[in-house]
């Protein structure tokens, strides 16, 4: 699919975002044909919209990549309880900054997508749960909602129909775990964001206020609008089978042009992203490692090779540069595309220090509810901190790995994996650096202060 020329972006979600003549005002959005899809959708039956979304094969953009149409199908419609729609705008995965762009630059796209989704699932109340630090985003969304309400695109009797759906912006309280959908629901209910046990608390059945609830990512909900524009079948042709649509990749770290880039799924490889799109590494540096999907995803070592059989039966033999940027590519390489946050590390990075920072993040963000994550994340932090402070021991690498293994798969929510995977992959791929710390405990002069 890729060729030698620099891959070109295909902007669907961010189509108007960086147009100097475009603002987040409703006038701009309407000028570009905004809310036409809402009108079109309201002429359809709700279940027809669900069917289109299912056909489109669009996968959740929040990190887990679960098909959105399937999620909607699981919704318990028979209970007679009200149904809620929640937009998860708690974007807080380190290395990810895509939803912020959408909210700041094209908020009406999200509102339109949400109102279509609300109509499709027949939700009378929708929420945008936005992370606390996005105060500007919250302000923009609030004024956008006011604009949309004034025009009848949201709120009471949308487009003059009998369907009403109120939309409320709720600012989070400043915790990573609020992005976990059941943690988010708890937080929205006004409690500590302790994720719920599943079973029995699947949001589609027992979500917000114990009512059926759909929680979708910002980018996913925006895609709903575009699915309605071209139809599920056409949308499914964008990208690759099982990896449909575009994705916004957020590239950070040691590249010349970090930023967000929207491409069709699978339209380019990791190498093309780093070297062509982002202008390559800084002068004189070489690639050491890449974290492909936010800090939770497993790290890739620059000289790693991956081989095996893809789902469609074809053999693959990739270096890191060859990994196609979609959902299944990073998965085949033993990691995941997660939230699309690509973190590039060059040879100046001390991997133990990088690990220490990641561990510090997870130790700080663990909600503290369940034992393995609560105690394991802090323990790992203490170990790596000590290693960086000159107290490394030979057995530390094995200990770290063992602690991570004791967390993975044993927690209430996926945070356990998010905390364990980085450690597991760092030890698996950079064990030599951890062992080296024992012999060379001194920190480099250039080292930054640890988190």
């Amino acid at each position: 699919m890729s060729n030698k020329s620099t891959p070109t972006e295909r902007r669907i979600i961010l189509k108007n975002a960086d147009d100097p003549n475009y603002s987040n005002k409703i006038s701009c959005y309407l000028r570009e044909g905004g809310y036409a899809m809402l009108k079109k959708s309201f002429k359809m039956k709700p279940e027809e919209i669900g069917a289109e979304v299912l056909k489109s094969g669009v996968r959740g953009r929040g990190g887990a990549g679960f098909p959105a149409g399937m999620k909607w199908k699981f919704l318990d419609r028979k209970s007679g309880k009200p149904i809620y729609l929640i937009c998860n705008a708690d974007e807080s995965e380190p290395g990810t900054f895509k939803d912020r762009q959408i909210i700041h630059k094209d908020p009406h796209q999200l509102i339109e997508g949400m109102m279509i989704a609300a109509y499709a699932i027949q939700a009378k109340q929708a929420f945008i749960y936005i992370r606390a630090e996005f105060f500007e985003g919250a302000r923009i969304l609030e004024s956008a909602i006011d604009e949309a309400k004034a025009k009848g695109f949201c709120g009471d009797k949308i487009l003059g129909s009998d369907f009403s759906c109120d939309l409320v912006v709720h600012r989070g309280a400043g915790a990573y775990i609020c992005g976990e959908e059941t943690g988010l629901i708890e937080s929205l209910e006004g409690k500590r964001p302790n994720p719920r046990i599943k079973p029995p608390y699947f949001p589609a059945v027992l979500g917000l206020y114990q009512c059926p609830t759909i929680v979708n990512n910002v980018e996913t909900l925006c895609n709903v609008k575009h699915i309605m524009e071209i139809g599920g079948d056409e949308f499914a042709k964008i990208g690759k089978p099982n990896n449909t649509g575009t994705r916004i990749w957020c590239v950070s770290g040691h590249v010349k042009k970090p930023g967000y880039y929207e491409f069709e799924c699978g339209a380019l490889t990791m190498g093309e992203m780093i070297y062509d799109v982002c202008g390559g590494l800084l002068p004189g540096r070489s690639l050491q490692a890449v974290i492909p999907g936010g800090s939770s995803s497993k790290i890739l070592r620059a000289d790693e090779r991956f081989s095996g059989k893809l789902k469609d039966g074809t053999d693959f033999d990739w270096g890191v540069e060859d990994i196609p940027l979609d959902f299944d590519g990073p998965m085949a390489a033993g990691t995941m595309s997660g939230s699309g946050g690509i973190i590039v590390m060059d040879d100046t990075v001390d991997m133990v220090e990088a690990m220490a920072n990641i561990n510090a993040f997870y130790a700080h963000e663990s909600c503290g509810q369940c034992t393995p994550c609560r105690e394991g994340s802090l323990w790992m932090r203490k170990i790596t901190q000590r290693m960086c402070d000159g107290g490394a021991r030979e057995e530390d690498a094995d200990l770290l790995l063992s602690v991570a293994n004791q967390i993975e798969g044993r927690t209430i929510c996926a945070f356990g994996e998010a905390a364990a995977w980085p450690t597991q992959s760092f030890i698996a791929k950079f064990r030599d650096r951890f062992e080296d710390k024992v012999k060379n405990p001194e920190r480099k002069k250039s080292s930054l202060q640890l988190i």
Partner: protein, 565 residues
Amino acid sequence: MISKKNSKVVPIVLDGKEVEVPEGMNLVDAAALHGKEIPHYCYHPQLSVAGNCRMCLIEMGTPMRNRETGEAILDDDGSPRIGWVPKPVIGCATNVSPGMHVKTESEKVLGCREGVMEFLLVNHPLDCPICDQAGECRLQEFATDYGRGYSRFVERKNVKPKRTRLGPRVTLDDERCILCSRCIRFCQEVPKDDVLGFVDRGSFSTLTCFPGRELDNNYSLNTVDLCPVGALTSTDFRFKMRVWFLKDADSICPESSAGCNTTVSSREGELYRITPRRNDLVNDSWMPDSGRELYKSVKSNNRILSSRIDQNPCTADEAIIESIRLLEGKKIGIVGSCKSSLEEQFLLNQISLKTNAVNFIRGHFEEDDGILLSADRTPNLRGALISGFTQNYPKDNLVSLSQALDQNQLDVLLVIDEDLEAAQVDIANLEGVPIVFIGTHTNSTSNRASVVLPSLTTFEKSGTFVNRSFYAQVFRQAVPGPAGVLPDLSLLSRLHNGLTEDEEISPDQNSVWKVMNNVSGSVLKEISLTDVRKDAVLLDSSKWSDLPFVESKALHFEPATKVEA
């Protein structure tokens, strides 16, 4: 939430063995039914499921079915193929389903337990030598049973508050807390007093009271019992006694007609604490704080420790002889007590019947808390009905006694424990009426009594109480009574045998029960003491369904609906 009795059973395969368990039961309870322990901290059968300690991780699988046809997929040998869930699941939140396979002893499961145990201990102070929980601590028990036995932790432990006053009766050591949230859920769900919560996050999470509030509800000490570790401690019991020195006796709380099942703990005849004992029909696993204080009455200053005639100390024999002399051949008024055991009330009534005495009894009524402190603040009002001591529902006073005295109907009074003055008996009417008083503590009546016979508290004797739901329950002696003080049954039996020509009644529970069983028309006819000793026995209460019982709806208690006339 609270496990309901369910007669339907489903087959599951527990560690390779096919067993039957009640439908819908969770795996922790189901495995326990078949002698398999699934260790757990946060799970409590009478609280909502939190699933946060992760100690009860097990392997679980269900028979695979063909998606299209719904038929079971079979292995080559014809047995159903099991789809094992790839990750371990928590037993407390997994309910049994037919054909479910469960592994509680696999290598993976043991690994999970080792891991969780290690995590629970990394920031735990391990101060067992100075910890009150030592000896009854789940951390100690499970660390021994399921832990690795060594530590790999070389970092600094977290520091948290060591002695926080959560309320007047509960002291918290946050460092020992394993954040299982049992106490929080208890406060929300049982006394409905939501005052506890966690602050801070991750491993620094700390249990605390909401600002400006304290844990002062009358059930606060249940959090101490619930706490699987030494974090929540009873301010009263703290540092008083090592629990392995304590001798436990099954008892019934005499505080109210709720009849909470309790464990009374003592060492060398000294009482140290009262804790609730689980009974899913009566009190679940709870009891009011106020009931736990009652052991202090045993050593209180106003305890009657010796027999007296005209307020002068004498021997028990002398006092009994004097009592018989005062009572014999007279018109006796007997004031019974709803605090006496069923056996004592029965024996007292035998005396009454054979001496043609007139019975009086008062109720002690206060506000009902709708949980386990009922409006009737005596343990055995229903015993007074069943023993035949009274046919009528007692009033909150003894005005009828006062009237009988006023009309000179009575020559002498035999009073059990009651304070006549406090029960609105006109003192003027008591002039010239000798009183034989049997009781544990002094009051205005014992002070004016001609004969005082000391008796024993609930903790010093055995007997039967009938609670508000008409459950007959036995309590057992926890400590010996004061030297020279005879048990109530002995006193009553000697009075009985001295005052009547009838067959003597031996002063032991068994003998009294045999006589009680023989009373025609008694609800105790088919019930033996052995039955009641085994478990609470529900008595037929239909005879009394028209009485105006004061208790309101509460935990495991529905007021009887009046039969329409």
